[in-house]
């Protein structure tokens, strides 16, 4: 296999891992618990920036061509762990602001606003993370294994991503298919009933907000370390919508379904568009990607709202309550 093909396959594998981790984070919030986090991509971005700032070293190095905060040069697992920590902390702050007091329709709108504000701030305050140009030369941890050649280093990173995806997957299964997961689904299906059973639904929402934000940050850290660059154009607010599409297509609340959806929508659509016989105008291709994503969402919401691999619903024979329909967030009438 040529080096180029190898690199192409490795790239796709890393992108799949990154998208699967991110979509699981969003699924925990939106699919399982019914929290509509329209700022999700912000947490991926925060993870990416944190990992970069913790591994780039002081901003005066390499001629000081980019400005950013912090600027540490920490060894391997620390930038990723730091990213997860910062992602979780920021989720906690945003969650405390939005989830506690606001009506849930306001929550969704305020998240959207927060996502946009964050982009504006990152673009205009240059000293924060180098403004619109973003950060470059973010070190890939596998490159510190200097005894290996470049291809092997790439595959080591693919392996790292795969292992982390596996770990997040195990955590997801443990959370979702446990008594705790039942509480979360209860918050989604009938908040009043969950409260009546003595569970604190706001606390549950906050918890999944933090855990989901942590997964988002992890995915961002891996992505930034792999591409080596990260800029505000990577995380404008419509990007969150791609994750939503992936979750809806895969099957909300279903761990395996969402992984499938993430691979199909996050990576599959982008790759498929490249092979369409319509010429290579990058603007048209990028537009087409968004159009396909939108049409996919509408189609699935109409034809198969439960997704490709639906969440398995427990039914009890004595129950007289009909199963809930279609796409339920937190609140109906």
């Amino acid at each position: 296999m040529s080096a180029a093909t190898q690199y192409y396959i490795a790239t796709i594998l890393v992108y799949i891992c990154v998208d699967v981790i991110a979509c699981w984070g969003l699924d925990l919030q939106f699919g399982v618990t019914g929290v509509l986090n329209f700022a999700f991509v912000l947490f991926q971005a925060v993870g990416a920036y944190t990992a970069a700032m913790l591994s780039l070293g002081p901003s005066s190095t390499s001629g000081g061509f980019q400005q950013y905060l912090v600027g540490l040069k920490l060894p391997f697992p620390l930038p990723i762990l730091g990213a997860m920590l910062v992602g979780a902390a920021l989720s906690g702050v945003v969650g405390l602001i939005t989830l506690r007091r606001l009506r849930s329709d306001y929550q969704a709108m305020v998240m959207l606003v927060i996502s946009v504000v964050a982009t504006v701030i990152a673009e205009s305050v240059i000293g924060l993370a180098n403004g619109t140009a973003g950060l470059a030369l973010i070190p890939n941890p596998a490159q510190s294994l200097s005894s290996l050649n470049h291809e092997t280093q790439t595959w080591v990173f693919v392996g790292l991503c795969a292992v982390l995806t596996l770990i997040v997957g195990i955590v997801m299964y443990a959370l979702v298919y446990s008594p705790y997961g039942r509480v979360l689904r209860g918050v989604r299906e009938n908040e009043a009933a969950i409260e009546a059973m003595g569970r604190n639904s706001t606390k549950a929402r906050l918890q999944v907000f933090v855990i989901g934000g942590m997964f988002g940050a992890l995915s961002g850290a891996l992505l930034a370390e792999f591409i080596g660059a990260w800029a505000p154009s990577e995380w404008v607010y419509p990007e969150t919508f791609v994750f939503f599409t992936a979750v809806i297509v895969g099957g909300r609340g279903s761990v395996s379904g969402v992984a499938l959806g993430a691979a199909l929508v996050g990576v599959g659509v982008q790759q498929a568009v490249q092979y369409l016989p319509i010429g290579g105008d990058p603007i048209v291709l990028a537009s087409l990607e968004w159009i396909i994503t939108g049409v996919l969402t509408l189609t699935f919401l109409w034809v198969r709202p439960q997704g490709l691999l639906p969440e398995r619903r427990r039914r009890f024979r004595s129950s007289t309550v009909p199963p809930a329909r279609a796409i339920d967030g937190a609140v109906t009438s």
């Binding site: 009506r103 306001y106 946009v116 701030i121 919508f241 969402t297 279609a326 609140v331």
Partner: protein, 295 residues
């Protein structure tokens, strides 16, 4: 002081554009309870309709009226063909948010693919300058403010004094009761979408006139400010939307004058979040419980 008053002057123009759009956004939400995140795309599409008419030699103000009608018809059609069907299909409030985002993204990017990423601008003279205390407004800007005052006042009066307005308020307060009273829900909802589309169309053309260059995504980028104004005033309250628009418009321009112009929106959003922390229902709204969408 001169800096302050001139900033307020610019703020009033921004507020006028915001008010037209925010009233449209919030009116339709109060009647149907659907968050229309494709609202910005209706603005952009209408703006481009006006652009094509304007290129054909038509005055931008007549083009604005026609674009408003197009926006209304478009908005009503999208509701009939898509939103209403999805709602009858059983989607709830949050499902509908995702549907409207999808429609917005599809429209914006279809337009982007058609017209390309370039910048457009209307062929319209700014008109003579009008001097106020410390600031100067062009005739164009002044006319935008007048249009905003007339349109928001008309909407207010329509809601307050006409049968249709009464039906809309009834539907907003209690859909089931409204239907039981014999209000033709479907027609009123369609008219709410139409009105909201007209305001989106006029607001879009006014926005594009004011910022002078626009692209296929300008409307959707502006939508966030509209949402901020609507939420600030208490979403679903047209009167609140006007006050919210004034606050957001003036704050952004004053922020631009005294602070970093690139960060001017941040100030408005900061105020929005602060207000919501103290008054979660927005400035001018009773604390209402959430309602389901009107079917």
């Amino acid at each position: 002081m001169a800096l302050f008053t001139s900033a307020v002057g610019f703020g009033v123009v921004t507020a006028a554009i915001l008010a037209i759009s925010a009233v449209g956004f919030t009116l339709q939400f109060s009647v149907t309870n659907v968050f229309n995140l494709a609202f910005g795309s209706v603005m952009t599409l209408s703006g481009f309709v006006a652009y094509w008419l304007n290129q054909g030699g038509m005055s931008i103000w007549i083009a604005m009226a026609i674009a408003g009608l197009c926006g209304g018809v478009l908005s009503m059609l999208v509701n009939e063909l898509l939103y209403a069907r999805f709602i009858r299909h059983g989607l709830n409030l949050f499902g509908m948010v995702i549907v409207t985002i999808s429609v917005g993204l599809i429209t914006d990017h279809a337009l982007q693919a058609a017209v390309g990423p370039s910048f457009f601008s209307y062929n319209a003279p700014p008109g003579r300058a009008f001097h106020f205390a410390d600031f100067v407004l062009t005739g164009q800007e002044l006319l935008i403010v007048v249009i905003a005052v007339v349109l928001t006042a008309l909407t207010q009066a329509g809601l307050r004094y006409t049968r249709l307005g009464k039906a809309m308020r009834g539907l907003s307060a209690n859909p089931a009761l409204a239907r039981a009273c014999g209000i033709p829900t479907r027609r009123v909802v369609a008219l709410a979408w139409f009105t909201s589309g007209v305001l989106a169309g006029v607001g879009g053309v006014a926005l594009f006139l004011d910022i002078s260059t626009f692209t296929a995504t300008t409307g959707s980028e502006f939508l966030i400010l509209i949402i901020a104004a609507a939420v600030l005033g208490g979403i679903g309250s047209p009167r609140g939307a006007v006050v919210g628009a004034l606050l957001v418009g003036v704050l952004t321009e004053v922020g631009a004058a005294y602070w970093n112009p690139e960060l001017k929106d941040v100030l408005a959003f900061g105020v929005l979040i602060a207000v919501l922390l103290i008054r979660p229902q927005g400035l001018f709204k009773q604390l209402a419980t959430e309602r389901a969408i009107v079917r």
